[in-house]
Symmetry: D2
Subunit: 382 residues, 4 copies
């Protein structure tokens, strides 16, 4: 029986912050061995990363296509590949690995076009593989608790949603024109690499997914006003949303809100109560029930649901952070890979990681927001 | 030289919570003497209130029209009247007093129709009187500090506004039909008394005014989605806004958000920083400057502006609350009444109380939101 | 039947912050009329205050002894006097009014010596009068809720207490010698006026009283370390405490803790739960029960006790602050004065204001702390 | 040149929460390879752990003494051993490895007796080895920032310290007698295994170290009151402290404070400002400067010191938690091991991990507290 998986990475060279989060997260439980990689188009960086991770030099590839083909052909091939590149490469890379029979965990947003996203889905089904889109915040313990509470009816029928993701790191780019496509933000603001949206694509999509994950509701339509401030892509977005159950709400995402670093806040309001989760304080969850004092749930406490207990790592009061959210995504993902490899059926619970359907929804959301804003915030269906 | 004013009240019988806030607020500085009143249409209640306030029985009126005429004709007439009745009576009462030469402080929203609001304005000008619309939150010390900071350029050009006013007290009315027009909410949900809006009219209008007060910006247009949940008037509203300077944002007002009592929160984002004020914690102001640690300003500290110093009452750390906000409104209002009575010119600073223009803007805002929602959240200009 | 009281004031001239809080607080409910005063030893200030409060000039006294005697002899004499002077005058003034048959509400600390305090108590009993020592924080709505919760057993047996009162306003005096006896702090740091303690006397005593009020427990002994930093009186105190039930804890009071304005925080720990109240955020109370999520109680909610409901003024979410705490003290105090005047028996509930026994306890606490610190923090019984 | 270290573990079998934190933390940066272990006295568990960590079966030892000797004799011997066992074993195990020429990272508290601690120190010097006592909170990014701020004079001279570490997990043991020595708390409440103190030893020692780390000050003496509530070891402690510079303060540690999970809070007050760090929200630091608004520092921002920048892992706003604190301890520790192995001199900065001197101080602190409490909170020198 298979107990440990082999995996490969495309992207995530040593100077990538998110790359290190992937390798730490994947390795957290000792269930995954990094066995192949195509870390960088820069030959030296690629080599260096391979050495750092102590990978067989024959499995350090300079080309993802070659990697997909060669790995796909090996006896001891990787069980999955993590794609941690800029957005524009996701689709081609994911396609290559799927076509070669290798499951994929891909960074979000999944790809540029809805048609591409759906093609990847059809490939997954055709090849009977697994696919995860790394909406990492869904890995947080208390996001899972929120999902349990909301979907078990604890707060009644959902009637309003208020969610935001505010950052400040691009405020200096306001009014500066194209020459600001540099540094950290570089590719995210370049339409050729990032796609049709910067702010909605990078962080607005996290709002959409986190809300969807917690509520189980899909969006029906959006009315979005994106602000570009003279830049090629959006830096700020205020969005009216309507869910398939008729509930309304707002999503606000911004990279120009001074005083906010990485402020994802999700508030779900129901007829019986509400929940609020704040990404920068992930170890608490605010839960309100009609007519009762507001409650603060703390991760690791015995009153939490089985789902939260099961994914818990540290005793209450010892903060779990982003690495653990990644580790939790990987734990479930690797668990599913192993079950499948061992011929077991996957239950709904086993599939508790962001799916290709979530990825498709994300691409639709981005397109709908951009289209709506082009029409001066007219409603656009997803 | 006149040092103390006489005033009257229409509404505010002893069982009215807001009535007591008016009388305490007006009397806070020992500058106003309650001298006449028409407290209730209920004769006994009216009498009882008059006795409680130790008012000359000849000046306890059963009819506001009679009060306006008789007071207007007295030598020792009241210097102003406070109108604290349900919305539908504001216009007629205000008109009566203005026509009889008496200045007016009126609860918000000013009146039902924009034309009425403008008529009141023309009366104010014609009769050379003063008029205040009681957007009480602008009386808070740190709201004034926020205004100073924003309007002095401390946070740069305004690029985004995110404001909300969330309450929970009507959540039980969802789906219950018209029979819920009872109790506290009673008249606020009755179109004949409250006007075309409940939630936007009662609390959304406070968002509009507080943002306008702090930023000095007027709204250009709104795209609003109001939720009625089977009730005659709105209980929930999500609103995209555009200001005259082109900045966008959202205003969310709700009376069905469990976990929120009286949650007015205003966040103004500029190119150089941001400010955040939370009504339930009015003695602090969060101020962020680009590239610097987030700062918490506390009322009463020496680093605050002259405006905040001047209106300050208690040493820092001793909480000032709603009564003080009212007292501050009245302090400036009575100051203006006295200056005018003494033949002095009023400076801009002397006029630091919510004006009839603010009242008109509020009525326009309510109308625009309702109209927009009727058009499925199409943009409507104010 | 008597419905309104007359009262007088000693101290509280117009430039006194706490004076204005007294007059606003006493007048809040329209149940008290300020009818006499001896506001200042400065003749002009005294006159001016009398005029401001519109007091009969015959009842504006330049001398408290004269006031006590003349008022005591009037038909329409004041029902009580408020003493709001520096500490050194409390005893003589209180004695004078008691001896002349007038009930007393006195600022804390009650007086210098324990014997004086006990003499006042014997006078109160002898003359069958009422006495209140103005530990104003006990007037807060949620302090009363905390008392209800703790004394009804909600948190079990008390096993630990952690309370603090931190300010920063004297930090500049560190190491500056006696010449700093100026300004705001002036008399508080002058042993002749303030007594044997500055910091413990002024704010440490509030810790002692608030804890005692909430828990119903008296202190058995203290082990205190006071810091003087070269000043004549203490600026900082760290105190181990032991209660009569055997529970331990710490009280920390300081006027040199930068970052703290008026930080009274009381945390009571029991075998079943805990409560935490923070003076600067008086409208919330943190309540924890073993094995359950932490709860945030909000003033004005229906789940609060009858005691909290009864003293409530504003709807939930509209902040009540220091003026309301004073108003609540006065409400109960005046209620007791009226009942007594009308020949009614006072129930325990009617006596819900800080008593002379509380005042005595406060003086004992100050003495015990100073004595303990002189003995290098040896235990000293109260 | 050596780039990666080999290390071994004593303790930390798979069911140990802290064990997993050690292996994740040590492996975080890819600089350490777990090469030997003596995980459990239970043979199966020991085997299982060895297999899980893919360790050469010859290097999975059933006896620490054997491990120390055999590893000490290997060419490819481990560069250090991590000791993660209950307290009573620390001394003998540490001694065995030091004697066999192997550096040690040991859990806190270091050992039972001061003489043992000093013997270990002499062994470290004699053998020219390195020693780290795992006071893990000093690994937090913003604890290092606090240290930089305080030791660079940002808050002036230290005049007061207020620190606490409150937990609730033993509240049920109150009054239950010895039979409660079970479960999680089991060995911690057993004097034979835990030593002379439970609460002060386990968490009070973290207060002592974190304060010492941030301030650079050692304690001179303590006056401690420990509460046992019928248990063999203390569950609650309130401690007056005096530092070598004359400053006073309180340390409160408790395992019976309902509502607190793992509440280490350190507040350092100086003549110019203060800092506050809260373990459960480790990504923020509250900094106050005299006369200025209170500031909230956020990890990962450019305004932080070089030390904080250097140890930073995640972009601001992405929470780092306990695993990262461990990883940071290990990063510096492994860095020092490597430098030493490569014949380089260790700078003060290279030695930024908790030292054997810190460990000795911790043992002294525990002894002083217990002794003081036995003398009814008399002062006891460290």
């Amino acid at each position: 029986m298979k107990k440990i998986v082999r995996y490969g990475i495309v992207g995530a060279s040593l100077d990538s912050f998110i790359g290190a989060v992937h390798t730490v997260g994947a390795g957290f439980d000792g269930l995954a061995c990094l066995s192949a990689g195509c870390f960088s188009r820069n030959k030296e960086k690629n080599q260096e990363s391979g050495e750092f991770y102590q990978i067989d030099p024959n499995r350090v590839y300079s080309d993802y296509q070659e990697m997909a083909e060669k790995e796909g052909a090996r006896e001891d091939k990787i069980d999955f590949v993590t794609i941690s590149t800029p957005n524009n490469a996701h689709y081609e890379i994911a396609k290559a690995f799927l076509e070669n029979g290798i499951s994929v965990l891909c960074e979000k947003p999944l790809c540029f076009e809805i048609s591409e996203a759906e093609h990847l889905k059809s490939l997954v089904e055709e090849k009977d593989l697994l696919f995860c889109v790394n909406y990492s915040y869904s890995g947080n313990n208390l996001v899972k608790e929120a999902r349990e509470l909301v979907q078990s009816g604890h707060i009644g029928d959902i009637i309003n949603v208020n969610a935001e993701y505010l950052q400040e790191y691009l405020v200096d780019d306001i009014g500066k024109g194209d020459q600001t496509i540099t540094k950290l933000s570089s590719w995210r603001k370049n339409p050729e690499i990032a796609g049709i949206s910067n702010c909605v694509g990078d962080i607005g999509s996290h709002i959409e997914n986190t809300v969807s994950y917690i509520t189980g509701l899909r969006l029906k339509r959006v009315a979005a006003k994106l602000d570009y401030f003279g830049q090629p892509l959006d830096l700020n977005a205020n969005i009216l949303v309507e869910f398939e159950n008729g509930a309304h709400g707002v999503f606000c995402s911004s990279q120009v809100c001074v005083g906010y670093r990485n402020g994802l806040v999700v508030r779900i309001f129901g007829t019986e109560g509400s929940i609020e989760w704040v990404q920068e304080e992930p170890n608490t969850l605010i839960v309100a029930k009609k007519g009762q004092p507001v409650q603060i749930y703390h991760r690791g406490m015995a009153y939490l649901s089985d789902v939260a207990q099961k994914i818990n790592r540290l005793p209450t009061g010892h903060p779990e952070g982003l690495y653990v959210a990644f580790a939790n995504i990987y734990k479930n993902w690797i668990g599913a890979i192993l079950k499948k490899a061992n011929g077991e059926e996957l239950s709904k619970e086993d599939r508790d990681f962001p799916s290709i359907e979530d990825g498709i929804e994300g691409v639709k959301f981005i397109h709908a927001c951009v289209k709506s804003s082009e029409k001066d915030a007219a409603w656009v269906n997803l």
